[in-house]
């Protein structure tokens, strides 16, 4: 049962990442990141089914709420306010993005490989995918132009970090809590304030225009 | 002794050169003592000063003369100690000649004449080329003869002996070139010409007159004597033994030098100015070759 769920979770993470990579439509991206957030919120429960306790439940619920619901909604609103629904001409096109994603997956596999020895067989793919998600988020930030897409990339990366923490450092729930805090901050500050201001000041949120400060 | 000889005989030396040139030209030439007459005549005249000049102009002939005479104090009769002899005295001798040059160049610039400026420029150019040759030559001599001072160097240069003697010939040639150049003799300069553009030494003194000119002429005679006797000192192998014999030998050698200079001036034409630097570089190179010979 748990294994099936776990496999499902892993698969969802993978698929959402791939979707994030090859779409240029913002609503789709927000949806993907929401699904990913939801799944990753569930992840600790699945991973530690046998020793589940109250605090874990609470954390998981908060995470699901934030990552799966609140942040995507905030993003959606900013998107509508800014009036953008497409990532036009990203630096890296969808196909190439996918290829790079494949490479990143291989990289995460390579880096996480030594973990295999110390993890149960069925759990191994969790850190691999977590790391992949981190890289994927970074890649999204790097390869997309709109501020809002960058935030999505950042959220993806956060998801990865959280998943990573959930899979590895379950003995130290403090870390997991930190992840929550971080997400709240990012959600509130970056999105709520910064995008709002950028929108007001520049009339669009294309970060290409945010490059007057150089050298 | 050397000092007295030089003071007395240096104009005669010039006269001899002129006489020999006249002989080769098939003329009678001016009397041997003509330069003495000239000096006396000039000393009896008044002077004309340019309105541009300052006290530098008036002082300079006498500084030059004083430098030449002081240099003579250092200059020994070959084989004998000079009045003042000390380690490295040849350097002081050359420095005094440089003082001489300094004062004449300053006097030339003081007139503001473009000709004299040009002459001054050429004068410093040639000395710039001649100085390394001179110093190098004396380094060779000093090293080969293991002597610090002119007295030691000139006392018996041919004691170098053996294969190293060749070095002495090189030095001799090198010094001879320097001698001709520094004293403005043909083929580097023609002391008798009056076409200013070609002159070096004479053009610098265009504006001097009367006793000042006498001082300058006398100074240049002394300078020729100084370099000539240095050349004689290292080129003549004969040291008589007794003092008077030595003086006679020295004077004989000087006459010999005058003959050589006279012959050269008669048979060679003046070279182009640009070639002068080549010749002087050759002098330096010769001194360098001599050095290799001495070490090897």
């Amino acid at each position: 049962m748990e294994h099936t769920i776990l496999n499902l979770v892993v698969l969802t993470i993978l698929l959402s990442n791939i979707r994030l990579l090859n779409t240029s439509r913002l609503p789709v991206m927000i949806l993907s990141v929401a699904i990913q957030g939801f799944v990753i919120g569930v992840l600790p429960l699945v991973l530690h089914w046998e020793r589940i306790n109250l605090s874990l439940w609470i954390i998981a619920l908060i995470m699901i709420a934030i990552k799966g619901v609140i942040l995507p909604r905030l993003l959606h609103r900013s998107m509508q306010e800014a009036g953008v629904i497409r990532e036009v001409e990203p630096f890296v096109g969808p196909t190439v993005s996918l290829l790079i994603g494949l490479f990143l997956l291989a990289l995460s596999y390579w880096i996480t490989f030594p973990l295999r020895a110390s993890l149960p067989e069925e759990l191994f793919f969790v850190p691999v995918l977590a790391l992949f998600t981190v890289f994927n988020g970074l890649f999204l930030i790097v390869s997309r132009k709109k501020a809002i897409t960058q935030v999505i990339g950042y959220l993806t990366m956060e998801n990865g970090v959280y998943a990573f923490g959930a899979s590895l450092a379950v003995d130290h729930p403090f870390l997991v809590e930190l992840g929550v805090l971080l997400d709240v901050w990012v959600g509130v500050f970056i999105m709520g304030i910064a995008i709002y201001h950028i929108n007001r000041e520049f009339d669009h949120i294309d970060t290409d225009k945010l490059s007057t400060l150089k050298h | 002794m050397s000092l007295i000889l030089a003071l007395l005989l240096s104009p005669l030396f010039l006269g001899m050169i002129v006489k020999i040139k006249a002989f080769f030209a098939g003329r009678k030439g001016q009397p041997l003592l003509q330069f003495y007459y000239d000096l006396v005549k000039l000393l009896q005249k008044g002077v004309v000063y340019s309105s541009s000049t300052t006290v530098v102009f008036r002082l300079s002939p006498w500084i030059a003369l004083a430098a030449a005479v002081t240099a003579l104090c250092i200059l020994p009769l070959p084989g004998y100690s000079s009045w003042i002899s000390f380690p490295g005295d040849f350097f002081v001798l050359f420095a005094l000649l440089a003082v001489l040059r300094f004062s004449l160049v300053c006097a030339a610039l003081d007139t503001g004449s473009s000709f004299e400026g040009m002459g001054a420029s050429r004068e410093v150019l040639f000395s710039f080329l001649a100085e390394p040759a001179l110093l190098l030559s004396f380094l060779v001599l000093s090293f080969g003869l293991e002597g610090y001072s002119l007295h030691e160097i000139l006392s018996n240069p041919f004691s170098i002996g053996g294969g190293k003697l060749v070095a002495l010939y090189f030095i001799s040639v090198s010094l001879f070139i320097v001698l001709l150049a520094e004293n403005s003799r043909i083929p580097f300069d023609d002391p008798n010409t009056h076409l200013e553009l070609t002159m070096i030494h004479e053009v610098m003194v265009l504006d001097h007159s009367g006793p000042d000119l006498a001082g300058i002429l006398y100074t240049s005679a002394l300078k020729l004597w100084i370099l000539g006797s240095l050349w004689v000192g290292i080129s003549s192998p004969w040291r008589g033994g007794s003092f008077y014999l030595d003086v006679l030998v020295f004077l004989g050698s000087m006459i010999f030098l005058a003959v050589i200079i006279g012959i050269i001036e008669s048979i060679l034409a003046r070279v182009r100015l640009i070639r002068v630097s080549h010749a002087l570089s050759l002098a330096t190179v010769l001194a360098g070759v001599a050095l290799l010979w001495i070490i090897g």
Partner: protein
């Protein structure tokens, strides 16, 4: 008594600074500044003479809480010798400053000038007496910074600011090498007191190169000399005098100190480096001096040339030490130190003379000058005298050092007798020949073109009133003092010899008694006759000139224009120019010396105007520094693409850095 006097002199400077802060009256400030430095320099002179005559070093130790530091002062004979120079030049330049800045003092407060002058003066004296690495470096930088601000005194000019920039980066770069030097020397020490320094045996040559670059930058060895011809013309003349006369000698002082820590174990390479760089410096310096037209620039290059001579002296000394040719070595060092003193006095008097000229005519370009003697006879006379000296001619003091150097070379040559000995001797004598003849050419040019003949250009014109003013006391007295000293030390060099020799011997450890005795003998044998020759020359000149005057007493003396080959309308512009005067010599080196020439010819067969200008650029600036800096700037500009403003790229850097680090530092497979 030496140390108390030294500290007393600093006390005077301190009181002076405090007074400067509180006095509002500009004229009083000016007087206070002058008096302070003069009093302080008298105290320094007292300290120096006390130690020199007493022959015994004095020291003072106080602890000081900085890493490796202690407040350790020591005046040994070497320090005292340099302090002597400082005392004279510093005081005289201050005195000169009074007159030089007097007109300025009415409308501009000079307290900053005097404050930095105090710092420079005190800094140099501390450099000469510090006996601890940290203290030394602090003094060193204090001195450099003070002189930097003094160079920037006339800071409203573009060229001055550029000079300040060049100067400060040069001096800073040099200090970096000193840092390395002291760090290497004091590698095992808690406190970097000088006497504890020891050479790490393995790296003798490297160490010397480091020291040579560090100290050589200040001294102005080629190719580290580029700041000198920038800074000296930019600084006010009294400051140039102090800088060129004394401050660049701190580099020499440092080098001699470095030698003293080697405890006699000197590798052959040191001497060879020192001699070759010295020879190069001398020749390059004099050639540039010959080609330049700016009066103070010429003097600056001449300083470089003289540093070359000093370097050759040091080099011969070092070489002699390593070859165990004691007498030659001591003679080499003595020659170098003699030249340090003599050049200091001569060059400062020349700079002060140049200051008077500048003050009168407001131009440093000698092509525009001429006939200054008629307006400034006493300045002219003293300038001419110093020119004679700096050209290395007897009977002035500039000759003594060169002469001793020749004697040293001969001694090395005669006693040593190997191929290397001879090669070095050739090098030294050849370059001395070029330098000697070159400096005669250079200084007849400088003196002759600017002071003699006729005024060349209206720009060089001056008002008689102004000329009268600058021939006043504070302008003349300093020059008289220096001129008198120059003549005195030229003839009486034998009197200075014990001090100089004492300075050398006290610095070099392990000199045997016989060696010093032998050296003293040679010094006596050479310097005494030199004095006689000098006196004969002076007396003869006097006598002959009197004779001439006597002869001419009853003769007609007429005045007429200069004979100009029958040309009817001679004009001052027809005079030989400074450039044409030196061009034949420079043409010999035309491949080396970068002339930038501009030639304009308007009209066709009968041109209305034609202009020609040629400027000599510095060889090393043109071939080394300019390409280097331009290349650096070009490279930097290319690099700027990295910071191109987009967030995406920046985050890519982070990711790439992370990945590269992981690949590099986790050893392939983690």
């Amino acid at each position: 008594m030496g140390i108390p006097l030294l500290i007393g002199s600093w006390g005077v400077l301190g009181i002076g600074s405090v007074l400067l802060c509180f006095i509002r009256n500009r004229k009083v400030t000016h007087i206070v500044g002058t008096v302070t430095v003069v009093v302080s320099s008298l105290a320094i002179l007292g300290a120096a003479l006390w130690v020199l005559i007493g022959g015994k070093a004095e020291e003072l130790y106080l602890s000081w809480s900085v890493p490796f530091g202690s407040f350790y002062l020591r005046i040994d004979l070497l320090s005292a010798l340099f302090l002597l120079l400082l005392g004279i030049v510093g005081g005289v330049s201050a005195l000169y400053s009074y007159g030089y800045f007097y007109p300025e003092s009415t409308h501009r407060s000079l307290s900053a000038y005097w404050f930095f002058y105090f710092c420079l003066f005190g800094g140099i004296s501390l450099v000469f007496t510090a006996w601890n690495g940290v203290l030394f470096l602090l003094a060193w930088e204090g001195m450099s910074l003070a002189s930097f601000f003094l160079v920037l005194h006339e800071n409203n000019k573009e060229e001055v600011r550029k000079a300040g920039w060049v100067y400060i980066i040069a001096t800073h770069g040099g200090t970096a090498f000193l840092l390395i030097l002291f760090a290497l020397l004091g590698s095992d020490l808690e406190v970097w007191d000088f006497h504890a320094f020891q050479y790490p045996a393995a790296m003798g040559t490297v160490l010397f190169i480091v020291a040579f670059i560090g100290f050589g930058t200040k001294a102005g060895f080629v190719p580290l000399h580029v700041w000198l011809p920038e800074a000296h013309p930019a600084a006010p003349s009294p400051v140039s005098a102090l800088m060129s006369g004394v401050m660049i000698k701190t580099g020499i002082y440092g080098l001699v100190r470095v030698v003293s820590w080697a405890e006699g174990k000197i590798p052959l390479s040191w001497g060879i480096i020192c001699v070759s760089v010295g020879a190069l410096t001398g020749v390059v310096g004099i050639l540039h001096a010959l080609g330049k037209k700016d009066m103070k620039e010429i003097l600056a290059y001449s300083s470089i040339e003289n540093i070359g001579i000093i370097g050759m002296g040091l080099g011969i000394g070092l070489y002699g030490m390593s070859r165990s040719l004691g007498i030659g070595a001591l003679l080499g060092f003595t020659a170098a130190l003699f030249h340090v003193i003599n050049h200091g006095l001569l060059k400062s008097s020349l700079f002060l003379g140049a200051g008077t000229v500048l003050h009168t005519v407001h131009t440093r370009n000698i092509e525009e000058l001429g006939g200054l003697w008629k307006k400034l006879p006493s300045t002219g006379a003293l300038f001419g005298l110093s020119s004679l000296g700096i050209a290395g001619l007897p009977p002035l003091n500039g000759f003594v050092g060169e002469f001793l150097l020749v004697v040293a070379v001969l001694t090395i040559c005669l006693q040593g007798n190997t191929f290397l000995d001879i090669s070095l001797a050739i090098l030294v004598l050849l370059s001395l020949g070029l330098i000697g003849a070159g400096s005669v050419a250079c200084f007849t040019r400088l003196f002759g073109i600017s002071f003699l003949g006729e005024l060349r250009n209206r720009k060089g014109e001056y008002s008689a009133e102004r000329a009268h003013g600058v021939e006043g006391g504070t302008f003349r007295i300093p020059l008289y003092i220096l001129g008198g000293l120059n003549l005195l030390l030229g003839i009486g060099s034998i009197g200075l010899a014990p001090f100089v020799f004492g300075g050398v011997v006290s610095t070099l450890p392990g000199i045997s008694y016989d060696t010093s005795l032998g050296t003293i003998k040679i010094l006596r044998q050479t310097l005494f006759p030199l004095a006689i020759v000098g006196s004969i020359f002076l007396l003869l000149t006097f006598f002959l000139f009197m004779l001439r005057t006597w002869i001419l007493k009853r003769r007609p003396i007429e005045t007429s224009p200069t004979w100009d080959c029958g040309y009817i309308l001679p004009s001052p512009r027809m005079q030989y120019s400074a450039s044409s005067f030196s061009r034949p010599i420079l043409r010999l080196f035309h491949r080396l010396l970068p002339f930038s020439e501009s030639f304009r010819w308007e009209g066709n067969l009968f041109p209305e105007t034609a202009t020609y200008a040629s400027t000599l650029c510095d060889l090393f600036v043109r071939t080394v520094y300019e390409p280097l800096f331009k290349g650096l700037a070009r490279f930097a500009t290319r690099i700027y693409g990295l910071q191109e403003g987009r967030n995406q790229v920046y985050i890519l850097y982070i990711a790439l850095t992370l990945i590269i680090l992981m690949v590099l530092f986790l050893g392939g497979n983690p």
